[in-house]
Amino acid sequence: MSIIAFVLLSAAAIYFFAKRIVAVRRNIFLGRKETINNRSSERWAQMTRVALGQSKMVVRPVAGFFHILIYVGFVLINAEVLEIFIDGFTNQHRIFAPYLGAFYDVLISFFELLALGVIIACIVFLARRWGGLKRFKGIEMQGFPTRDAAIILIVEVILMKALFIMDAADMKLSNGEHFFLVSSWLSFWTEWFTPAQLETISHTAWWFHLVGIFAFLNYVPYSKHFHIFMAFPNTWYGSLDPAGKLNNMESVKSEVKMMMDPNANPYAAPASDAPLARLGAKDVADLSWKSLMDAYTCTECGRCTSVCPANQTGKKLSPRKIMMDTRDRLEEVGKNIDQHGMEFQDGKSLLGDYISVEEIRACTTCNACVEACPVLINPVDIIVDLRRYLTLEESNIPVEWGMMNTNIQNNGAPWKFPASDRGNWAQNNG
């Protein structure tokens, strides 16, 4: 009976998780094609350093330290989850114990210490949020994002608590055969129950933990906590070029080549008969797929916004909001496709309905946000692609920028000086 329940539950949890992953993958690949797979050994090194090694997390030492507690705890405690899984399939309890002997208790005690670390770190993170750390505020954080953060932290604490309850009950039941370190400190309550009751408590805690894990698994991909998986591919695909380099628009290149080639026939048909792609980005599908992966990876930590010069001086721009808006719009587009098919248009777009022109106009392309992001997200790529759409497709630019561009074209400088005077400074005496 309990094996059947276990198998059905696991199958459902894994099915829904896999379904969600397939949908996220499809959404990401709605983005503009771009091949990113060169220099793969550097990419593995980058992923190892930044995601596995948490190199950018520790730039903020307090957050970095407690996050590593959660991170290491989570990864290693999963070894215990493996046992829980096998127990479930075989209707055993603590199936590894007989094979490992005394070492089993050491191992479980170690996991318990990690679990304690996770609890402490989660409480610190909760305190930090409720204590009003500035970078967790901002208009983009109202409503779900703040609730989401609290839910995950509280659920983690409860899951770890369930482990301690199970361990303490089992320890008592084993009559001295097992000793688990942390639950031994917390086992006073086991005196109050009969062995049969403890049996039920242990069993319930086991199920609770299991259901909790499955619920967690299926909540994560809808939450900023998706970063626990996405951090890895996102740092692998993260740019290896100097941050100052903006990508080259190949579609513009062929056009400019033709304009500059004296032999080209201006009336010739375009070289390819593929439909002309939109220049720049108006909606999520115009962005590079990597920008869309960035959006799913964002942890909403606000490190980017806290160092953004525009945001710090009261402008509307917040790089975190750029990322969250991109993800929210992409989710909306994905839902539209699920419900109405690929061709459906809802008349909305990322630029306009989510991100305003004023926001993207405020960016100085200073790359502070890029430098700050612990998971190698690049908000500037999105901002520049949106600016390109405004400029190239809608000619919607501030008057001063219009003059600047005209001056560059006519005089070779953003100011209105004659190009022939460019070398004059070198002749002037003085």
Binding site: K315, Y389, R422, W425
Partner: protein, 261 residues
Amino acid sequence: MTPNITTMAEMAAKGEKPEILFWVGCAGSFDERAQRVSKAFAQILNDCGISFAILGSEESCTGDPAKRAGDEMTFQMQAMMNIQVLDAYEVKKIVTACPHCFNTLKNEYPDLGGNYEVIHHSTLLQQLINEGRIKLKDGGAFKGKKITFHDSCYLGRANGIYEAPRAVLEALDADLFEMKRAKKNGLCCGAGGAQMFKEAEAGDLEINHERMDDVMEIQPDVVAVACPFCMTMLRDGVKQKEQESTMEVLDLAELVVRQNG
């Protein structure tokens, strides 16, 4: 003193080729304050006996501000024109005192077929000091003066150059103080991304004024910069804080020339 500056065209007429092209940039060519930096840097190249030339009226905007304002068309037209000129003179090596020109020439021209060895003047100055070709006087003009360095985004975060300008400043025998936001964490002056050429969006404060708070904490005699746009922004900030009589904003090249002057 007026440095001796030739153009590529003049050199080519004599059948000569310089070791290095000095890419002056729009600010260095037209902005009066930045022209003084161009002259100081040309002076240093002269003094070190480096054979260099400028393009003069054949140079044109790299297209950086157009690209960052979203006008890729204007950018690419500028880039392709410049690449034609550079390739016609068979230019191999370029030095520039503008981090924006530096970034664009070095990182963005290769995709359009322009491949050159591009260095920023802070790196060249550091090399020349290390090689002993620039000899800085002991007890020169800046001995014991309080200096702080403002990292420009396109030199620092954009291209990872943090040490070269500091090495130059250390060679001056001055006391170098770091602002609370420095190096990777340096705060923008507010000019990048074509902001230089338009009014800022609505907000509480100008970015360069926010930056001045960091400067004021140090109260330096000199704010050293390595970018003509940072120069404009910080000079405006110094004026806004009414510190013109106590603080000077100077480029690295000017500091080197003045130390020995």
